[in-house]
Symmetry: C2
Subunit: 216 residues, 2 copies
DNA sequence: ATAATAAGTGAGTAATCACTCACTAATGGA
DNA sequence: TCCATTAGTGAGTGATTACTCACTTATTAT
């Protein structure tokens, strides 16, 4: 895990974050081990060891173990929940003449697929830990409710009004679209990452499935 | 949590299991707390306390903490993976004249939905812990590969040959069918259990979505 | 160059961990 | 009734836990 990756990950609101080498090592080690053994199953002593750092150094930068977890998860969730989607895609769709729903889906899926590929460990941590830490749950809810959901709702409603999507409760619609995508990402990177995957084919099947399933 | 529930859960291969009251309390407490805090975050002392039992009593029945986990998870996974589906449904479908795929889906979904409703805690434990415990992963893989997958494959292939389902790699097909269902169950019982759910409507939307998405 | 601040250290601490063991209480078959 | 087996106990164990603190080293601003 390289420092540039961490700097990019931790950059929120455009704020640059400066990391010493040891700080970067701590974060990298924590991400690795949290993903491997889970937060509660990870000893700070082990993080220190793998980071090549004294245990005290960890607590110099993070007052408590949980702060270290949040320092990893918080930007992870934000980057996960605020995809290119929110910033570019919807604008493109609605400000220009919009392309088809399939093109939108394709862009979205590949975008999140690549994010998952580059952040498997953090994805794993978020999925494993949000159930036990209300702080994480809140971060996710905020990010989702404020950034993702309204955009998706706007987009989906637009397509529904254009008669391209079936009328359903918006939550149901979103769930029907998201579940197969998430199902594929989780299978691809967490459950069976070593299988031989024809990603392009899978994505096309996925798009076809969702599209036909949602047709008016 | 009542003893009859536990006896039913632990009954595998028809073998009756006799539990003293304290043993049942231990299992019930362990299920509760494991689901709340996760395995690694749970102290055996706390299980003993909530079960109203000396800590030594736990280790009289389970040599190690992990054995207690497995005693809960193992039958849980089996009951989860070997639904009425495996025993009755497929037989019904193939031995009689078969109904439509929608009827099959409906039966399957309601069946698993009810199972989830009655086993939320165990569902949560399995989902949370399988990533960290190879033993659990193996139990799941065995149960799935031996009992569930062949049945599903047989069924799906049958419908494909009848021209009712699109031709796709079998794994893709299964994933497309299972993801939305699992997505619903997880949302319904784990993510947002307190919302007002119109289950019947959701299930019908789900069936419609899957059916149309899979149409040849 | 110097002083001020930040980064890093590692031995030490109280608390908690999973687990043991010598023991008593309850149960069931003869 | 007696005995053998099983169930249950709780104080005690060494290991490990997250975290502290007095200290040294490195960095930065002036």
């Amino acid at each position: 895990m390289r420092e540039s990756y961490l700097r990019e990950l931790l950059k929120v609101d455009g704020q640059e974050i400066r990391l010493t080498e040891k700080q970067a090592n701590i974060l990298a080690a924590a991400i690795e081990i949290f993903a491997e053994k889970g937060y509660a199953g990870t000893a700070t002593s082990e993080i220190a060891k793998r980071a090549g750092v004294a245990e005290g150094t960890i607590f110099r930068h993070y007052p408590a173990k949980k702060d270290l977890l949040l320092a990893i998860v918080k930007p992870g969730v934000l980057k996960l929940a605020v995809p290119v989607f929110a910033d570019n895609m919807v604008e493109n769709i609605f400000n220009r003449e919009f392309q088809g729903f399939d093109e939108l889906l394709r862009t979205f899926i590949y975008n999140r697929l690549d994010f998952a590929r580059q952040n498997v460990a953090i994805l794993r941590i978020v999925l494993q830990e949000f159930a036990f830490h209300p702080e994480i749950k809140m971060i996710i809810e905020e990010a989702f409710l404020e950034k993702v959901y309204p955009r998706i709702k706007q987009t989906v409603t637009g397509f529904q009004e254009a008669g391209l999507l079936k009328e359903m409760p918006i939550t149901t619609t979103v769930r029907c679209i998201v579940s197969p995508i998430l199902g594929f990402i989780v299978t691809r990177f967490l459950l069976n990452p070593d299988a031989e995957w024809d990603e392009a084919q899978e994505v096309e099947h996925l798009i076809d499935f969702i599209l036909k399933g949602m047709e008016a």
